[in-house]
């Protein structure tokens, strides 16, 4: 049987790749994909916990996380399209209107 720690390490690795992408990419679409990556990493650890602790609540949480991820993607892309319409760019380092 695969130990639970392996799943946690895998989840941590995927989460950190997501953090790296979120902090370093210029394209805002890839930044959104990194957020989805982080949510998926959390889902992996929740399902692993749910299996090893023999408790269903982790998988209930996963369903809610997927719901929120879908809502977040829809809102996020609406914001990206509005931004692209006004600024004609998807690069985060060119969006500096709020800089004081």
């Amino acid at each position: 049987m695969v130990p639970l720690n392996w799943y946690l390490i895998l989840s941590a690795a995927v989460f950190m790749i997501g953090v790296f992408g979120f902090l370093t990419r210029r394209n805002i679409i890839i930044i959104f994909m990194s957020v989805e990556l982080m949510l998926n990493a959390v889902n992996i650890s929740l399902v692993a916990f749910s299996h090893y602790l023999q408790d269903m609540r982790g998988q209930i949480l996963v369903i809610f996380i997927i719901t929120v991820a879908a809502a977040e993607a829809a809102i996020g892309f609406a914001i990206i399209i509005a931004l692209f319409r006004n600024k004609d760019t998807v690069h985060v380092d060119e969006m500096d209107e709020m800089k004081g």
């Binding site: 049987m1 695969v2 639970l4 392996w6 946690l8 390490i9 895998l10 941590a12 690795a13 995927v14 950190m16 790749i17 997501g18 953090v19 790296f20 992408g21 902090l23 370093t24 990419r25 210029r26 394209n27 679409i29 890839i30 959104f32 994909m33 990194s34 990556l37 998926n40 889902n43 992996i44 399902v47 692993a48 749910s50 299996h51 090893y52 602790l53 023999q54 408790d55 269903m56 609540r57 998988q59 209930i60 996963v62 369903i63 809610f64 719901t67 929120v68 991820a69 879908a70 809502a71 977040e72 993607a73 829809a74 809102i75 892309f77 609406a78 399209i81 998807v90 690069h91 985060v92």
Partner: protein, 170 residues
């Protein structure tokens, strides 16, 4: 031996695909790697006896969210995207922060002690079937959060339409 091999394949595939998602300069390639990544995560869920979650993963993530990504990428200009640098100037700082977080989490994982096991053992789920066990819990103990989730989706629909709508003046 076989479960470890199976897990090893899925874990290495997931890590490699997520690295490819983050480092490709063409967003369409990133999305294609992400599709493979989501299927492998669904395989891992099947390995963990969570078949309903695996189905949801394929339908919602691979079927709905990725198609949304693809639509938005096709709306934007890809030609100049391939010419500019893909990382911001201060990317070593981001790499350092991610590596430091990884070290912190890995040092904590060792001292994790699992709590007492619940009643949803493999035999119980096999007898009850997974979808039924999940649905019973979702529609009894978690009915109120479920309603809130539907409200979140309603807000997302309305918000997306309002935000993306073209103003009459322009």
């Amino acid at each position: 031996m076989l479960p470890e091999l199976f897990f090893g394949y899925y874990a290495s595939a997931i890590v490699i695909f997520s690295l490819l998602v983050v480092t490709r300069s063409n967003p369409v390639h990133s999305i294609m790697w992400m599709l493979l990544l989501f299927f492998h995560i669904a395989g891992l869920y099947l390995f963990l006896n969570a078949e309903f979650i695996a189905a949801i993963q394929v339908i919602v993530y691979a079927g709905a969210i990725l198609v949304l990504f693809l639509f938005v990428v096709l709306l934007l200009n890809l030609r100049e995207e391939l010419k500019v640098k893909k990382f911001i100037g201060s990317w070593p700082a981001g790499l350092f922060i991610a590596a430091a977080l990884l070290v912190i989490i890995l040092s904590v994982v060792k001292s994790f002690v699992p709590g007492p096991a619940g009643k949803y053992s493999i035999e119980f789920i096999k007898q009850e079937t997974h979808t039924k066990a999940l649905g019973t819990l979702l529609y009894t103990d978690y009915l109120f959060p479920f309603e809130i989730a539907s409200l979140v989706l309603l807000v997302a629909i309305i918000g997306a339409i309002v935000l993306a709508k073209r103003k009459k003046g322009n």
